[in-house]
Subunit: 359 residues, 2 copies
């Protein structure tokens, strides 16, 4: 470590529901890592989300966008409230952010940590350690479509999925590099036998780039088959690259397999330096358990570790992941609200483990 | 039972790989049911599939279409061979058949039978008994799309999903009736927060029809969330209605949960009497195990039962399902090639159970 302190400017969006709780726990862990690993996190609290929207009518405003752009990364809690109509925050905020900041890759590790209860019988951590690389700004998420004869018996709704070679290529290239680093296979997940135009673009991009990564074996699996294999033989996969909508679907399945939304982390990565990346747990705002201090902060803490790795703080990222994993293995299999488990407590424990360098 | 013999004219497509083996077993069971339940199945063997295509270049020809149309239903083994390029049989045969015969619904029970090994820890048959009603001729399967600047760095691929009110309505109405009969909830599975045009059409159709089915509670779940819930809490679902592509994906997940492709059955239902319905196991042609007599015929036998139910032979359908379920419960949990299990043997056993009226 050098003696100059590295400064990282982080925007923090606590959001709604359990978002603030899991962010609090994450920030405690972050603070512990800061002192130990010789960097400083300059935090800017940003008000956004469902409650903010209900109070102000504001979503992803130009002012907010400018403010966020001025940061090195974004830590994101969760967004959502039953009082906001479905789709409003998703399209008005999340998708706008991904698009404006060219967060081209949605990165989601599917890793079963020791001691975590998975719904899959007999699954062991050795057999479940893959990463899903989801395209994050194109495909069915472009918001293109139209309906004619609305409200009549002959209504026709057309929904378009748009993929560009450039959009696909940057994601596939990222996935190849990751597979190279992990020494694993790159699997393309699509439905190219039916979605011929999109599938051909994806497959030809993989084929073209494959020449540049001669050490990476390449495979292809239809999305339906992948949903069959993921719960039964996750060891088939190491790095999976896929389209936006398929990625949305299979990463939730991955989260189920790795033991629930509480432990699943994700990164929305900008790859060209033209905007901040965003890091969040996969879970939503979970209004039903908000405010009780029961939310599992592990997904948020692991997302914070991904953020630090992205900012070059590899040692800090490793220490946080190791501490979280160590703690997970200690929790009783039935950890939950009535077992003395609390969000703040877990945050404190992980922070303590990081500080003591224990695991 | 009346004394006049009911005659059902069935077209039988054995197809490729393990298709012929599982069809043989199914026909043995069918024959046993025939004599007992007072109907007669007039079978027409039809040559089609990968080997037929490789030998003749023929897919779903007008002559074949006319011949099939002349039958009350189609029993289908499986299609596929590594020597045929991906997509050729799918688009050239399966999709053409679904479209020409207006097989509007793809019906897939997800039922965990007693004694079947599921990958889900602790899952019991009581908790896993749902039916997925998949729209079968529209959506992303319409084959619409185009690519500009093919093969250049600025290539753009557009893939369209088209849904018509009429297409959606007939499927949703079918699903409502099924939910009414089963006394369960109807869950719409979509991604309406992102796929706004298609999602609005689906949701408004469900809303409109709901008034006609006041006893059926209605629910909505995003497809990503459903892939999280299906392996963890399948008891949340009774009848799920969904779009073609989502249905393709979630039914394979359902097959995994119910203990594998070997036991999963399906029906491609024509609803307006203008063409035959088609019944097939969910598994493919499995070239790797073809010819060894190891294929599990249960999915095909249960599909035959669905065929008989569709033709009004409810008692025969029930007897076959009961026999297959009884046998499943007897098989050692690790049933498989090296356990004395054979396709023909299972077929014979089920036929015997049907004849003796045992279960
Ligand atoms: C909130 C929503 C827009 C989002 C998506 O569909 O991408 C979510 O499901 C996710 O996976 O991050
Ligand atoms: C063979 C293929 C066209 C088909 C589909 O995608 O519908 C299959 O996956 C299925 O689910 O029946």
């Amino acid at each position: 470590m050098t003696s100059t302190t590295r400064v990282h400017r982080l925007a923090v969006i606590r959001g709604d529901g359990i978002g603030p709780e899991v962010i609090d726990a994450s920030l405690e862990v972050l603070a512990a890592a800061e002192s130990l690993f010789g960097f400083r996190a300059e935090l800017t609290e940003i008000s956004a989300g469902a409650r903010h929207y209900l109070a102000t009518g504001e979503l992803f405003t130009p002012a907010l966008q400018a403010q966020l752009r001025d940061h090195d990364a974004i830590l994101f809690g969760a967004m959502g409230d039953p009082a906001v109509a479905p789709g409003v925050l998703e399209r008005g905020f999340i998708l706008e952010m991904r698009r404006s900041f060219a967060q081209a890759v949605n990165l989601r590790p599917v890793k079963l940590y020791p001691g975590v209860t998975t719904p899959i019988a007999g699954l062991t951590p050795e057999r479940c350690d893959l990463v899903i690389v989801r395209e994050n700004t194109e495909g069915s998420y472009v918001g293109r479509g139209s309906t004619v004869h609305v409200g009549t018996p002959h209504a026709v709704a057309v929904q378009e999925s748009v993929n560009t070679r450039m959009g696909v290529e940057r994601v596939v290239e990222f996935a190849f590099r990751l597979a190279e680093r992990r020494g694993g296979t790159l699997t393309l997940c699509h439905k190219k036998n039916i979605l011929v135009e999109a599938g051909t673009l994806w497959q030809s991009t993989v084929d073209d780039l494959s020449a540049r990564f001669p050490t990476v074996p390449v495979d292809y699996v239809h999305v339906d088959a992948l949903c069959f294999y993921l719960p039964t033989t996750p060891e088939r996969f190491n790095v999976v690259v896929t389209d936006n909508l398929f990625g949305d679907i299979i990463t939730d399945l991955g989260a189920a397999i790795q033991g629930g939304l509480g432990v699943a982390a994700s990164a929305n990565l900008n790859l060209d330096g033209c905007g901040p990346s965003m890091f969040e747990a996969i879970h939503g705002s979970a209004p039903d358990i908000a405010g009780r201090g029961w939310a599992n902060p592990i997904g948020a803490v692991l997302s914070t570790a991904m953020c630090l790795a992205h900012l070059g703080e590899i040692d800090a990222a490793r220490a946080i992941e190791a501490a979280a994993v160590h703690l997970l293995a200690q929790l009783p299999a039935t950890a939950g609200p009535r077992m003395g488990f609390s969000t703040a407590h877990l945050g404190r424990e992980i922070a303590g483990l990081v500080t003591s360098g224990a695991p």
